[in-house]
């Protein structure tokens, strides 16, 4: 019985590590292929500066609001 148990443990270890490595190897290969296909066929316009667009007019109004807020904030103290 002991031998069997040990044998079972060894089986699990060998096949287990084998499968883990094989599966992750397949995943490395699959991922590399996938990335290559996507990068080649669907190039992204640009790494896209954080898309929060800020037109100049908005900016001016914003700055006004914030300035007002800060002024008020300072007055209150």
């Amino acid at each position: 019985m002991e031998e069997t148990l040990l044998q079972q443990g060894l089986d699990i270890t060998l096949f287990g590590m084998g499968i883990v490595f094989t599966f992750l190897l397949l995943l490395v290969i699959g991922t590399s292929i996938m990335s290559r296909i996507i990068i080649r066929n669907f190039p992204e316009a640009e790494p896209a500066a954080p898309a929060a667009s800020s037109p100049a007019a908005d900016d001016a109004r914003l700055r006004a609001i914030i300035k007002a807020a800060i002024d008020q904030h300072r007055k209150r103290r």
């Binding site: 002991e2 031998e3 148990l5 040990l6 079972q8 443990g9 060894l10 089986d11 699990i12 270890t13 096949f15 287990g16 590590m17 499968i19 883990v20 490595f21 094989t22 599966f23 992750l24 190897l25 397949l26 995943l27 490395v28 699959g30 991922t31 590399s32 996938m34 990335s35 996507i38 990068i39 669907f42 992204e44 790494p47």
Partner: protein, 437 residues
């Protein structure tokens, strides 16, 4: 006046067995570690509290109706149960519980009906355990939520780090060997199913550990979950000495090139790629990896933000509460206060140590074959323990070289470790079932 006596007999002080007393202290200890030492509090607070509840003498919160009937000591019920279970009339309570646990499903259903007719109910924690863990749903839902919180970007930018996540799983299998070794040496009495469930502690991933032990060794679930979460919290103590011992200062100073930008399309496709590989090659990892990939797809696809948000918040929180209390139900004294628990605690820390070591060594091996050098400190992150292990890599990297920011690089092996241990879990469940079924 009989009622006063009844109440006294029903009161805890009278019945408090020393085992339950010790387990209540253990529960308080877990709460202390969680609250004061910040040991994985999201899980250890409910687990510790559930453990205390499970050990309140006379409350029977962790018992089924049939077990409660046995514990009640009512002679008429005991007689009927003994008859149903086919045990000798004078058998001990322990023998009856044993017989009930091993009885075929049909007999257990009859025992439950018998207890119900006699006015006994399932305990609260017993119900929680059945719904949340025995059904498998709670660990899977948490895995889905973890998937919805996981960013595979760093892994996709550097897929080689998947090998680090693979190597670190050797901790799991070394522990399996250790457990069967202890049994073969006659020191412990672990079955092959026990050994596999204990090994998974080395996966450093709570829901995976709970899922595997609920299937392979439910009686050890309490100790395994406590070990898994405690050692995950101890990662900043366990890993650094091993990492320092296996690396030279020069290796620790290696700076890694900045990760490339990963596109949305790659992130959407990746969980589907895993899913397809699982479907082709590893159906037994389908529940765990399937739910994980589903969560991640909800996160990345961008069209189901409200589902992803719920999976990351309300749903995972609700599930965590009941999962924790349910795990606590397996901290009942008769299950936890067993020499096996000591074995589990000892083997668990060995699992973490070996996984850390093999992760680091694999990183060094990769450097032998590749010109893009990998800082071996990120190898240890392959054990999972997200994001603690990655932070440890980063900390040691900064110690060796203040310009060396490894955090994002270490996130790759870190999430790879989650995939790796889910794969290992699937393999072990299949193999153990084939061996014992």
């Amino acid at each position: 006046m009989d009622n006063l006596l009844n109440l006294w007999l029903a009161s805890g002080a009278y019945k408090m067995a020393s085992g339950q007393f010790i387990m209540i202290l253990v529960g308080l200890g877990l709460l202390f570690l969680a609250i004061r030492k910040n040991f994985e509090p999201l899980l250890l607070v409910p687990i510790g509290f559930g453990g205390i509840l499970a050990n309140i003498p006379g409350a029977n919160l962790a018992l089924s109706a049939a077990e409660t009937a046995l514990v009640s000591g009512d002679p008429e019920i005991l007689r009927q149960m003994a008859q149903l279970l086919g045990t000798a009339a004078g058998d001990s309570l322990y023998a009856l519980k044993e017989a009930l646990g091993n009885a075929p499903a049909a007999v257990q259903a009859r025992a439950a009906e018998l207890a119900t007719d006699a006015g006994f109910n399932n305990g609260m924690l017993y119900n929680f355990y059945n719904v949340a863990i025995a059904s498998g749903v709670a660990p899977l839902v948490i895995f889905m939520g973890v998937g919805a919180m996981t960013d595979f970007g760093p892994l996709l930018a550097n897929p080689r780090t998947l090998f680090l996540g693979a190597a670190a799983q050797f901790g799991i299998f070394a522990t399996v060997l250790g457990a069967v070794g202890l049994s073969a040496a006659g020191i412990m009495d672990f079955s092959i199913a026990d050994a596999a469930a204990i090994g998974i502690i080395g996966g450093a991933d709570g829901p995976t550990a709970i899922y595997v032990s609920s299937l392979l060794a439910p009686d050890l679930l309490g100790a395994i979950a406590v070990a898994a979460y405690s050692y995950m919290a101890l990662v900043p103590l366990i890993q650094p000495p091993i990492m320092r011992a296996l690396t030279t200062p020069e290796e620790r100073r290696i700076e890694m090139v900045q990760l490339r930008h990963v596109s949305k399309r790659e992130k959407i496709t990746f969980p589907l790629l895993i899913l397809i590989l699982v479907a082709l090659f590893l159906p037994d990892a389908a529940p765990l990896l399937g739910m994980f990939c589903f969560g991640n797809l909800m996160r990345e696809c961008g069209v189901v933000a409200r589902l992803s948000d719920t999976a990351q918040n309300a749903l995972i929180n609700i599930t965590t509460i009941f999962l924790g209390l349910s795990v606590g139900s397996k901290l009942a004294a008769d299950k936890f206060l067993d020499p096996k628990t000591l074995g589990i605690l000892a083997l668990g820390i060995i699992a973490f140590a070996i996984g850390t070591a093999t992760g680091v060594l694999m990183a060094k091996l990769l450097n032998v074959f590749s010109s893009h050098k990998v800082n071996p400190l990120i190898g240890s992150a392959g054990v999972s323990a997200v994001p603690m292990a990655a932070r440890v890599s980063n900390k040691l990297g900064l110690e060796a070289n203040p310009q060396n920011f490894l955090l994002m690089h270490a996130m790759g092996p870190n999430v790879a470790g989650v995939i790796g241990s889910a794969v290992a879990a699937g393999v072990m469940i299949t193999m153990v079932r084939a061996m014992t079924g």
